[in-house]
């Protein structure tokens, strides 16, 4: 019997497998029991109603997907009053992904979520454009990332997970900055900016032009980012990017992650998350690990490898 529980700051999750924001919703309960997951992570909620981006919003590549959905949503009022009622029927901790376009808006929305029963933690989607810095993402620079997290920290007592972006020169510096600003965990990483062009129309394939790239082809990059962040901070790292099966998840844990998020893989196989969970447990049993948390950081430099083959 493997102990699958993991600690993420002040929270204990029943297991380390959860969805990645934006690729998940209560609709998946039509396919499997969502109460099996370690946590639930909502699509990003924004303070106000958002229409979303022009179509096409998704374009596939050989082993991944470019998306520019544009965070369509009905806003925070609707989320707290209506959507939360739907989420409260599930038992895992609910992590609400929050996106905003200014430091003040992040803080105000965080306070609002803290006052909403059933919200266990906030995942700060600081990869969204910062209107106060010419639309550059908060997570591009340590200063702007820290400012958003510090304001949220001051505004609420909920655990805050900072979702970092690969679209930055020095992710370890950003991770250190948000840790100092009070983040309880870092989620590494969001999609990486990419582009695809329709050569017949001579225009970008996505309606919005550029998009965020995710899926199996992104995995080596995300894994490297996790490895860098795990060596830079003491708070837990939650790994995300191209995880499609249990072996992928094991790699992320060994690179320093304490938990993993599964995103694009759920589009191809909606049962990917329960499959990752079962596979992780089987791996630990086969290799004699009593706790899944024992896998965290095993492949980091200077750490001992597992005892016996």
């Amino acid at each position: 019997m493997v102990n699958m529980a993991v600690r993420i700051g002040p929270m204990t999750l029943a297991n380390p497998v959860m969805p990645a924001s934006g690729t998940f919703g209560p609709e998946l309960a039509q396919v499997f029991d969502l109460n099996r997951l370690g946590a639930l992570v909502t699509k990003s909620v924004t303070p106000q109603y958002r229409e979303g981006n022009p179509l096409p919003r998704l374009c596939e590549t050989e082993a991944g997907v470019l998306n520019s959905i544009g965070i369509p949503g009905k806003g925070l009022d609707h989320f707290c009053a209506q959507a939360m009622a739907d989420w409260r029927r599930f038992t895992p901790p609910l992590v609400v992904s929050l996106s905003a376009d200014s430091v003040a808006a992040f803080a105000e929305a965080a306070a609002r979520l803290a006052a909403t029963p059933g919200v266990a933690a906030i995942e700060a989607n600081i990869s969204c454009p910062n209107l106060e810095e010419d639309g550059r993402a908060f997570a591009m620079h340590p200063e702007s990332a820290a400012a958003a997290i510090a304001a949220m920290r001051a505004a609420c007592a909920l655990p805050i997970w900072a979702k970092l972006s690969p679209n930055t020169a020095d992710i370890a510096a950003v991770a250190r900055a948000v840790e100092e600003a009070g983040a309880d965990a870092v989620v590494v990483a969001n999609t990486i900016l990419g582009l695809a062009i329709d050569i017949d129309r001579m225009a970008p394939k996505l309606g919005a032009g550029m998009g965020g790239f995710s899926g199996p082809a992104f995995k080596p990059i995300a894994l490297r980012l996790v490895w860098q962040c795990a060596q830079a901070v003491r708070v837990p790292v939650i790994g995300v990017g191209g995880i499609a099966n249990a072996e992928d998840a094991v790699e992320f844990l060994m690179a320093g992650a304490s938990a993993v998020q599964v995103g694009t893989a759920s589009f191809v196989s909606p049962n990917a998350m329960p499959a990752v969970l079962e596979g992780l447990e089987a791996f630990c049993e086969r290799r004699g690990f009593a706790r899944v948390s024992d896998l965290t950081g095993l492949a980091l430099p200077g750490r001992l490898r597992p005892a016996a083959e």
Binding site: G22, E27, Q30, G52, R57, E60, S266
Partner: protein, 272 residues
């Protein structure tokens, strides 16, 4: 057994291909051994298919495919227009190969209580989407009239549409002018004036949709349309497949074709 644990209405399963054969010049028929999924499916719903040929090659994402044949005791069938990588991979499947499918998904067609007669206007592969409705209607004693539109007689697939439902078919073609909008309008007006149907249904053509929407509003006949859209997850999570739909209060909103559709009220849908 192809159904998952009880209580989960949408199933991700592998099914064996029973039959895979071309139909006409550009269509293909796939028949799957999936009795429980077939029994659980309703006309107008769809499956999200992992389009990998026998060697495992195909595009990364699934492709939505409307149900062509379904029902208790029937094999599950799809009739597809082979036009891209996904459908080419599906057409390369052979009997005995396995195919991963997710479904049944989406909101299907609805027949009103007490309806006696419906009229269907379909074009191209849209007739595959409407074909199971003819059989469901026939099983409920609802008579079906259909106007099928195609480029030319060899593209019609009347047999694929009607099966043994007894639907009364009028075929119109681009090749002889009978499929032009004014000609189809005259045809529909004659039907609606003499003995109007209780409901109208359409799929597959923007111009025929606009014509039917206009005439159905004029004659006060309720209608439904099955819409197509590129999809990501097929379940309603990714919001990539939205289309503009008019709400009862007149405002226009983006609704997900996979979750709120693919069948929408005829008057609520906007042209594409």
């Amino acid at each position: 057994m192809d159904l998952g644990p009880a209580g989960f209405p949408v199933v991700e399963a592998e099914a064996r291909v029973l039959e895979s054969a071309p139909v006409g010049r550009r269509y293909h028929r796939l028949i799957l051994d999936a009795p429980a999924l077939s029994a659980a499916s309703r006309p107008g719903q769809f499956f999200h298919l992992l389009c990998r040929d026998g060697a495992g090659n195909g595009p990364y994402l699934r492709r939505p495919m409307s149900i062509w044949r379904c029902g208790p005791g029937r094999d599950l069938g799809f009739l597809l227009h082979v036009k891209g990588r996904g459908t080419a991979a599906l057409a390369a499947l052979r009997a005995g190969d396995r195919l991963s499918l997710l479904g049944p998904l989406g909101q299907g067609f609805r027949l009103g209580p007490g309806w006696r007669r419906i009229l269907i206007v379909a074009r191209g592969v849209g007739l595959a989407t409407l074909a199971p409705l003819t059989e469901a209607a026939a099983a409920q004693g609802v008579a079906v009239q259909a106007v099928l539109s195609a480029q030319a007689p060899e593209d019609l697939m009347a047999e694929e549409f009607a099966g043994d439902s007894g639907a009364a078919i009028t075929a119109v073609f681009d090749s002889d002018g009978s499929g032009a909008v004014p000609a189809v309008e005259a045809l529909l007006r004659a039907r609606f004036q003499d003995d109007p149907p209780d409901g109208v249904f359409t799929c597959g053509s923007n111009r025929l949709f606009l014509l039917l929407q206009r005439l159905a509003a004029e004659y006060g006949i309720p209608g439904q349309i099955a819409l197509e859209q590129q999809m990501g997850c097929g379940l309603g999570m990714c919001f990539c497949c939205v289309r503009q739909i008019r709400a009862p209060d007149g405002t226009v909103q983006n609704l997900r074709v996979c979750a709120e559709g693919p069948v929408f009220d005829l008057q609520a849908a906007l042209a594409w």
